[in-house]
C-alpha cells in the first residue's frame, strides 16, 4: 500500500513539473505552494498572447453569452450555414439578399461572386 501511495505521489509531482515546463514557466522548488497561481498564470499565457486572443466557447469569460457547449461549428457548418446567414439577430445580410455597401470599392453595386472548394 505504501509503495502504491509513493508511486501515486511521485507521478503527481512529475506530472506537475512536466505541466509547468510545457507552460514555459520555470519549475519552482516548492511546486505544491505555487499550484493555484500557476494555474491562473497558465490561463493568462494561453489567452492573452502577444499576438491575439483565443476565441473560446468552452465556458470561459471570453465568449460572453456563448458560454457552455454551444459550438459555432455545429450551428454554422461550412457547407450549409443558411441558418447563420438569415440576416436576423443582428447578423449581417448575406450576399445576394441586399446590395453591397456603398463604400466606393464596388463600382457597379453588384455582389461579389463566391466559390468555395
Amino acid at each position: 500500500m505504501k509503495t502504491a501511495l509513493a508511486l501515486v505521489l511521485a507521478g503527481g509531482v512529475l506530472g506537475f513539473a512536466a505541466d509547468a515546463q510545457a507552460g514555459t514557466i520555470p519549475a519552482t522548488p516548492h511546486p505544491q505552494k505555487a499550484e493555484g497561481p500557476i494555474s491562473g498564470t497558465l490561463a493568462a499565457v494561453l489567452i492573452d498572447g502577444d499576438d491575439g486572443w483565443v476565441w473560446s466557447n468552452g465556458g470561459g469569460s471570453d465568449s460572453g453569452d456563448d458560454n457552455g457547449d454551444h459550438s459555432e461549428g455545429e450551428d454554422c457548418p461550412v457547407e450549409t450555414d443558411d441558418d447563420c446567414l438569415d440576416g436576423t439577430m443582428g447578423n449581417a445580410a448575406p450576399a445576394g439578399s441586399v446590395a453591397p455597401p456603398r463604400n466606393g470599392l464596388f463600382t457597379n453595386g453588384t455582389a461579389p461572386q463566391v466559390r468555395s472548394n
Binding site: 459555432e72 449581417a92 450576399a95
Partner: protein, 156 residues
C-alpha cells in the same frame, strides 16, 4: 456614313471611361490544414493613410464572433452594416475561398492595402494575417499567411 462614325466615336468616348473605372478581380484565399472548425475571415481595405476604406467580404455569418476579427472590429466598431450584402459562410480548414468582384481601378497602385483578419473557434485569433498592397505588379503573386491562411492571391 459620317453620322454613323460620329455616333460610334461618341458612344466609345462615353463607354470607355466607365470601363476604365473598374476591373474584375479574383481574390483567392486558401486555408491551411490547421485542424479546427471553419475560419471567420474579414477582408477589407485601408487607404494610403492606413485608415479603413471599406470591407470586401466577411466569411462567417454570426456577428457575435466578429470581435475576434479584432483589427476589422476596431476599424468598424463591429458595425454589421459594413458587411451587409457581402457576407458568406465560414471557410473550412484546407479549403479555398474564391471571390470575384468588380473593384474600382482607383484602388490599385495608389497606396491601398488589402487586409485579412482570421479567427477560429477555440484557437488563437489572427488579426491582419494578410496585408498586401494593391498593385498591378503584385497581381497573381501568392502571399503567405501566418496562422490559418496558407496563401492569398489577387488576380485580374
Amino acid at each position: 456614313m459620317k453620322p454613323l462614325l460620329v455616333a460610334l466615336a461618341l458612344t466609345t468616348a462615353l463607354v470607355a471611361p466607365g470601363l476604365a473605372m473598374a476591373r474584375p478581380v479574383t481574390l483567392t484565399t486558401t486555408l491551411s490544414s490547421y485542424g479546427g472548425p471553419g475560419a471567420y475571415l474579414a477582408i477589407y481595405v485601408t487607404d494610403p493613410s492606413g485608415d479603413y476604406a471599406g470591407s470586401l467580404w466577411m466569411a462567417g455569418g454570426r456577428s457575435k464572433y466578429y470581435r475576434h476579427l479584432s483589427d476589422w472590429s476596431r476599424f468598424t466598431g463591429g458595425d454589421v452594416a459594413q458587411v451587409d450584402g457581402i457576407t458568406g459562410a465560414s471557410v473550412g480548414a484546407g479549403r479555398s475561398l474564391e471571390l470575384t468582384m468588380d473593384l474600382a481601378d482607383a484602388l490599385f497602385d495608389a497606396g491601398y492595402t488589402l487586409h485579412i483578419d482570421a479567427a477560429v473557434e477555440d484557437m488563437r485569433d489572427s488579426p491582419n494575417e494578410i496585408a498586401v498592397p494593391l498593385t498591378t505588379t503584385g497581381a497573381g503573386t501568392p502571399v503567405p499567411g501566418r496562422r490559418y491562411i496558407a496563401d492569398f492571391t489577387y488576380a485580374f
